[in-house]
């Protein structure tokens, strides 16, 4: 909200003006949403059965229809590596891979993933056997508080695959030429992952190193 006269806005106006923006903002609605853990299905609740594969393991769940993929991972499967930030697709902390593509797990219903193959941060690597991207984030200090990190790492891995697959971005100069790794490309493609600590330069360094290794 960089309105030249924003300092004249009341607090209420400011909350209103930021509520629909793309930044992760905690208005009262959001905070309430983020705190409410998904309840287990109760009698009288509309539920559905869904089966998908998470990090190589088949999971069959009876879920309240309202359960997001994020809540199913965290609350039902106790895979708490995937984080809930804004719960509105604005911050990227909930990024996971579904059928090889990164998505915001907070904006997807679990019951819509029948048969999906899901990879979370726990499936990318373990403390003993880290994924190269995890190693690079540690080496380059690609985080401070660490809350956005699982989402950042899942997104980073997907970004390099997207570049390899020839998917263009907003900063790709020639839409008909092969896509390449550059700092600009990484920054643009990672813009769906917000880091409140501002570890961006180190995140870019980590991704760049992994891309070099892969090339």
């Amino acid at each position: 909200m960089s309105s030249p006269n924003s300092f004249e806005m009341s607090r209420r106006d400011l909350l209103v003006a930021t509520a629909a923006g793309s930044v992760a903002v905690a208005n009262s609605n959001r905070a309430a949403n983020a705190q409410a853990a998904t309840p287990p299905p109760r009698p009288g609740t509309a539920t559905s059965r869904v089966g998908f594969v998470v990090n190589g393991t088949r999971q069959d769940l009876d879920l309240d229809n309202r359960t997001t993929l994020l809540d199913a991972l965290r609350e039902n499967l106790h895979l708490t590596g995937t984080k809930k930030g804004c719960d509105h697709g604005q911050c990227g902390a909930c990024t996971v891979m579904v059928d090889g593509r990164r998505i915001n797990s907070c904006l997807s219903l679990a019951i819509m993933h029948e048969g999906s193959e899901i990879t979370t941060i726990e499936g990318l690597g373990t403390p003993d056997e880290m994924h190269p991207m995890q190693t690079a984030f540690v080496k380059h200090d690609g985080f401070q508080c660490g809350y956005c990190t699982p989402g950042q790492i899942c997104s980073s891995v997907a970004v390099l695959e997207e570049i390899k697959a020839g998917i263009p971005s907003h900063v790709t100069e020639d839409l008909t030429a092969p896509t390449q790794v550059s700092e600009m490309e990484i920054r643009e493609r990672m813009s769906g992952n917000i880091c409140r600590c501002g570890a961006y330069p180190n995140i870019v360094a980590a991704i760049t190193e992994v891309s070099g290794r892969q090339a």
Partner: protein, 316 residues
């Protein structure tokens, strides 16, 4: 979020007839807009019809030399398609300027067309909003209007269509194909697809209850240089303050559609004859009758300068 029942539809006609029988049913595609609004209880469908299994995820050559884009084609796949990149670059560019990589992987062609406004008061359920609650009043009028519309707006609502994709589709003269619950099909020119608010801002498109979007078609390529310029508060991952989709031919003629300024993609064909005279002449006609507020009148100037930049870039 309110409770809802859920089912998957197997064909567009089946989806349409299922929805026609239930006033509180909604289709769900990528879910990236609908679920967001359901969490805030701005939308509270009691039944969701999942359209992801409708086999509408292909981009095909059409008989007239154009392309037919299935309603379920993801934004990432549409932006990356070889034909779209080569012959309809403005569309590829508009898609890539929108949302984030994660969201584009889920967002579909139909869902993107139907995404709802980002008016901050529409999102604040504590305040009156004619679009959210017909007849309750408009909090934006007299409120903070920086992001809101300057043209095509009414005394009941001044919100904008927030998307990027539709702006490029307007410049490309796209057509929206649908199936109605009785099985009848329609082809709606994109110019007629979104409605101006008038007294009924809650009605945003010409779609009838239960009508399913099956595809968007583009006519044969028109050549020219394709540009989509989006001006926003951040360099990435933000909605447009103003955006301009332009196709400029070597002789200086072309097409211009503007986003971020109106309840629908804003294009005034008669203004395009003035392209050789420059941006000021074109935008004077595009914004004829505009009603900006003190806070958002900058959008008119911004649109004019954005087009000026495009004309400079595409010169020669």
């Amino acid at each position: 979020m309110k409770q809802f029942t859920y089912e998957r539809a197997a064909s567009p006609a089946e989806a349409a007839s299922k929805a026609a029988n239930n006033q509180n049913a909604k289709f769900i595609a990528g879910g990236t807009n609908l679920l967001d609004l359901m969490k805030l209880e701005i939308e509270s469908p009691t039944h969701l019809i999942d359209v992801n299994g409708l086999d509408l995820d292909k981009i095909e050559q059409s008989e007239n030399g154009g392309v037919r884009i299935g309603a379920l084609v993801r934004n990432t796949d549409l932006a990356s398609d070889e034909r779209i990149r080569r012959d309809y670059g403005v569309l590829s560019r508009a898609l890539l300027a929108g949302a984030s990589g994660q969201l584009r992987n889920k967002a579909t062609t139909a869902g993107n067309l139907l995404q709802r406004t980002r008016c901050p008061y529409f999102y604040d359920t504590a305040q009156p909003c004619n679009k959210r609650k017909p007849g309750s009043g408009c909090s934006a009028i007299g409120g903070v209007t920086r992001q809101l519309g300057v043209i095509g707006v009414s005394d009941a609502c001044i919100a904008t269509h927030p998307g990027d994709m539709a702006i490029a589709m307007r410049a490309l003269d796209a057509t929206v194909e649908t199936v109605k619950p009785d099985g009848a099909t329609r082809a709606i020119p994109i110019a007629d697809f979104h409605k101006l608010p008038g007294d009924t801002p809650e009605i945003e498109t010409t779609l009838e209850r239960g009508e399913v979007i099956t595809a968007v078609t583009l006519p044969a390529p028109v050549g020219g240089k394709h540009v989509y310029r989006k001006v926003r508060d951040r360099a990435s991952y933000a909605f447009a303050l103003v955006s301009v989709a332009a196709i400029i031919q070597p002789d200086g003629t072309g097409r211009v559609a503007v986003g971020g300024v109106a309840p629908k993609p804003w294009r005034v064909e008669e203004a395009e004859a003035d392209l050789p005279q420059g941006s000021k002449a074109v935008m004077a006609k595009v914004f004829a009758g505009a009603k900006p507020t003190e806070e958002n009148s900058f959008k008119v100037t911004l649109a004019e300068r954005t087009l000026a930049g495009i004309l400079e870039e595409t010169k020669g």
